[in-house]
């Protein structure tokens, strides 16, 4: 077995033991890494990547991360991770093991992307679009996760500025929401075919429908998710999503789509 395969096995073993120990102490503190700590750590991580790239073959870490074994291990582990996630009823995104796995994958991917830009002659654009796109999407997902907040609010004609976040804590919104009007159409068998709500945000009125959210400020959107008949009145449930890193994710997705189109057009190298 090669040195790099052994290194991979060792890293996996350390990660598994470490996560098991930490999991016993306390669950992964996602909230703790909220802005600005995640940005500071992200900058340090990026600096580390650039330094490793500069060190090139002189650094043993760089040699390992750029080895073919590391590439295979990184993809295979992420695939297995997704498989486990697919079997879980509750996504285990907040486990130490999953965090460590993602940290390894984005580090390895970042190194490969940097090298590819320099070395991959002939397929540079194809290579870079695919890898940089995925890298940006994963960076936004990984480093941006602590800043993402998903909240729910129940709207009636009474203005409210209270929303519940996923963990059940109460969040005070910067604006007041109230339901001005609501329309729903049904199919013949009683299933709703379409519904939409007129919602007052402070003093301005907006129309919300499924697949048609409304943006408030930068990186915050309001989504109409469901409704409930309460006696005479209707109560409408909206989801409020704060995701400041969404632009990074969006650019990553666009680059990947462009990469996939190129992948199809050019096909495998003959």
């Amino acid at each position: 077995m090669s040195r790099y395969s052994l290194t991979s096995l060792l890293l996996i073993a350390v990660a598994v033991v470490l996560s098991a120990l930490l999991e016993g102490v306390m669950p992964f503190p996602v909230e703790f890494f909220r802005f600005p700590l995640n940005v500071i750590l992200f900058v340090l991580w990026g600096w580390g990547i650039v330094e490793l790239h500069r060190a090139g073959k002189r650094s043993v870490i760089t040699r390992y991360l750029l080895s073919r074994q590391a590439t295979i291990v990184s993809i295979a582990l992420l695939a297995v991770g997704c498989l486990v996630m697919g079997l879980h009823t509750v996504p285990a995104t907040d486990s130490y093991l999953f965090v460590l796995l993602n940290l390894f994958v984005i580090t390895q991917l970042a190194m490969v992307t940097l090298r590819g830009w320099r070395d991959s002659s002939g397929v540079r654009w194809l290579f870079t679009l695919c890898h940089l796109g995925l890298l940006l999407a994963l960076i936004a997902g990984f480093w941006g996760a602590p800043d993402t907040r998903i909240m729910r609010a129940e709207l009636t004609d009474e203005p409210t500025a209270i929303a519940l976040s996923e963990d059940g804590s109460v969040v005070q919104l910067d604006y007041k929401l109230s339901l001005a009007d609501f329309r729903v159409d049904y199919y013949d068998n009683g299933v709703p075919s379409a519904y939409e709500a007129e919602v007052d945000i402070d003093d301005s009125r907006v129309r919300l429908a499924v697949n048609h959210p409304h943006r408030v400020g930068l990186g915050e959107h309001i989504y109409l998710t469901s409704f409930e008949q309460r006696g005479e009145a209707i109560c409408c449930v909206v989801q409020i999503v704060r995701q400041p890193w969404r632009v990074v994710m969006f650019i990553g997705i666009l680059l990947m789509i462009a990469g996939a189109v190129l992948l199809f057009i050019r096909g495998p190298k003959r």
Binding site: S193, V210, Y223, T225
Partner: protein, 257 residues
């Protein structure tokens, strides 16, 4: 004559027969005739899909039976393409056989073909998302079969296998990302580790692994085929297996509700 699913048997039998005749023509080296016949089969299924779309008054892409219909359609397309491009009559025969099996399942075991389309699915993303995905399923299915075939080494299928894998992965990627963009618009998150998403990601990564094995210089066909088979099983989980998993109970991706 009433329309919709009730006229499906006629179209299915005609399409299957034309597919079979195309395969026989290909075996007799009547290349031109084989191509016309398989295009005819594709045309017949297109007509059925078009009338179903009109009768249902929504894109026929929601129920299990409807996705199977598209799978049959795209299998015909892939078989026709592989025959035209590389002259593989046996792959054409295999695609016709699989397509016929899927049409037969639709005939003997029709699932609820209801007409409703919940509001979340009423989006411009719906049609590209589903059709691109199902097309990639067909490509990747053929690629997996070719990879297994390559183990017996009777004929060199390496080039076709690579092309189908790359094409399949490209379409799979686009299917997944259109899904992410849609999810952002529908409920605010690009990715939420819904069971179907997790299985799609696993499938995608296993096929990527098969691609990267070759790019990284691991040339063992056995290893590559093993990864492709795992990927293909994962694909079946992603397509309909998740319907039976408790982890997907809350998913919008479950077809049989």
């Amino acid at each position: 004559m009433s329309a919709g699913w009730s006229i499906f048997p006629i179209f299915a039998v005609v399409a299957a027969a034309m597919g079979l005749m195309s395969f026989i023509a290909a075996l007799c080296d009547r290349k031109r005739l084989a191509q016309w016949l398989i295009c005819g089969a594709i045309g017949v299924l297109s007509l059925f899909i078009a009338q179903l779309w009109i009768v249902l008054d929504r894109p026929p892409m929601r129920t299990m039976g409807e996705t199977r219909l598209w799978y049959s359609f795209f299998l015909f397309v892939c078989g026709a393409f592989a025959y035209r491009r590389w002259g593989y009559s046996w792959l054409l025969g295999f695609a016709v056989m699989m397509a016929t099996v899927f049409m037969a399942i639709n005939y003997f075991k029709p699932q609820i073909h209801d007409q409703t389309l919940m509001p979340a699915l009423q989006s411009v993303w719906f049609i590209p998302h589903v059709s691109i995905y199902i097309f990639s399923y067909a490509l990747l299915g053929c690629a997996t079969v070719l990879s297994i075939y390559s183990l017996f080494g009777r004929r060199d299928v390496e080039e076709a296998m690579q092309s189908l894998t790359w094409g399949g992965v490209a379409f799979f990627t686009i299917g997944m990302l259109t899904g992410a963009l849609w999810a952002k618009e529908a409920w605010g998150e690009y990715w939420s580790w819904d069971a179907k998403e997790s299985w799609a990601a696993a499938t995608w990564l296993f096929y990527l692994l098969a691609m990267h094995l070759k790019q990284s210089g691991y040339t063992s066909r056995g290893l590559r085929t093993a990864v492709m088979v795992v990927a293909f099983i994962s694909l079946q989980m992603c397509w309909y297996g998740v319907n039976y998993l408790p982890s997907a109970a809350e998913s919008v991706h479950v077809y049989n509700r």
